[in-house]
Symmetry: C2
Subunit: 294 residues, 2 copies
């Protein structure tokens, strides 16, 4: 496999994903010079102190002028602002990619702001933890995980292939997908589960004080699995829901119908309806284990 080596990579936003990718690229020797552009002074300081990047700045021109790869790892709601800041300073031939959890909105917000000759390859690594910030990144985060690239028709094929190679070099599998389809698939595999987890933990959080203590104490009975997901970054997730509205509302409607059907079965004591539904769901778990994604 050819190693795609970049001269200078700039990470716009050096959070969990950006800092993990920086660490992985450094580990595998995929870039010579590492820069970050981040609005948070604390994140810039941490990223430099930990050696994740060589230079950290809040000056867009300084950050991207020399970059031949720019990785946008900011909340997707900030995409337009990022585009406005870096667009004028990008040099022709530079590859711009992102790691956002929604793709249509990112393409819509960023494409008009990129100059001629810059190659945009939207991407989404299916990896993460509930922890945020550059101090929580690690080089192995993407190993054995999928990365979805959603290039637009007409995108420079060499740029797409170079990005695919980069992700494969750090241990990921690569899937190329239409951005519209991506947003529909992720609405069910990721966005709906997060919304549900946030909701159920919020419902518990609203209970009276003494019940809260008991919920924490006895959380091992199912609840705690939801709290991990519901500890994910609030701003990142706010932006996901605002920017994948139609797909999320559509799967949410299906979910609500299904939940209502089970609620009715409980109310009327229809045990066979419950048992049938609970039996069907075991097969999916088995398939996930077989696909080594468990």
């Amino acid at each position: 496999m050819t190693q795609p080596v970049f001269q200078t990579v700039c990470f716009v936003g050096i959070g969990l994903i950006g800092s993990s990718l920086a660490r992985a690229m450094r580990k595998h020797g995929l870039a010579r010079h590492f820069i970050t552009l981040d609005i948070s002074q604390a994140a810039r300081k941490t990223a430099v102190e930990l050696g994740v990047v060589d230079v950290a700045t809040d000056n867009p021109a300084e950050a991207v002028a020399e970059a031949d790869l720019v990785v946008i790892g900011a909340p997707v709601g900030a995409t337009q602002a990022v585009g406005e800041a870096i667009g004028p300073h990008l040099k022709p031939g530079t590859i711009v990619t992102d790691v956002g959890s929604v793709k249509l909105a990112v393409i819509r917000d960023l494409m008009p702001l990129l100059p001629e000759g810059v190659h945009f390859v939207p991407g989404h690594p299916i990896a993460g933890t509930e922890h945020s910030g550059p101090e929580n990144g690690f080089a192995e985060l993407f190993e054995g995980r999928w990365n979805i690239l959603t290039p637009l028709p007409g995108t420079n094929e060499a740029a797409v292939e170079k990005m695919a190679q980069l992700w494969r070099c750090i241990g990921s599998m690569v899937e190329v997908m239409d951005p519209h389809h991506h947003d529909k698939v992720l609405a069910i595999t990721s966005h709906l589960p997060h919304l549900i987890a946030y909701t159920i933990v919020g419902t518990a959080n609203d209970l009276e004080g003494h019940m809260q203590q008991e919920i924490i104490k006895f959380s091992a009975s199912g609840f705690r699995d939801f709290t991990r997901i519901a500890a994910s970054d609030p701003i990142m997730w706010r932006d996901v829901f605002l920017n994948n509205r139609e797909a999320v509302l559509e799967v949410l409607q299906r979910f609500t119908e299904d939940l209502t059907a089970l609620q009715r079965a409980i109310r009327w004591g229809e045990g066979e309806v419950l048992q049938k539904r609970f039996t069907e769901t075991r097969a999916i778990r088995r398939a996930i284990i077989d696909a080594k994604q468990a």
Copy 2:
């Protein structure tokens, strides 16, 4: 700590929980003779072959006549049938306990069938995995986990204390609770999360074939955490919902209201509502980690 040693313990139902408790009691020398009463020939065969019990039978009289401890680990919907089968054969002084996830219904179904002089100490270990059957049990399942005992007013105190000691000996912490309160707490920490997980995995399962493949492939983005819970034993969970109906429907109503509020915020683009809610839920995760139940 005094070791509560029983002469003969009988496990009515030798599934994940029963077989784990049998292993733990054997490991810590808490009984001399181990018997199971199970309607499944396969389970009986496995339990004997693995040395989990010494004797396995489907004859209630043979199973419990000599027992000074009987542990009911059957689906809670089978409680009445279990009571009818074993009740006439229990000897005075025997302690009967159970491990069911609901307590009011078990007490309602079992108490009238127990003869005078038998001590019933209802219990619920907050531990488990998504795997079923005696082959999946292990002695360490209860270590560091809570066990909730819900004795009725007037229950022999020495029997309650003996059961508490037994659970402490195998590594659990013990909490004594009113059965009604138990059912309310578990409805939120356990029953609702399972219902939600079953629902979301079912919603995904109903999608067209090619979408299903992609959901499995990209499940690491949140969905897979739900599939683990939704792979739990269907009959056990059918019975939980049928036997804790009021408490489950009540928390489900709260959950649905909260979900509807977030759905509305997504539809109308109310980012601050989402961000506020997503921020509140982080604190609960932190509390669970601090309580060492993560």
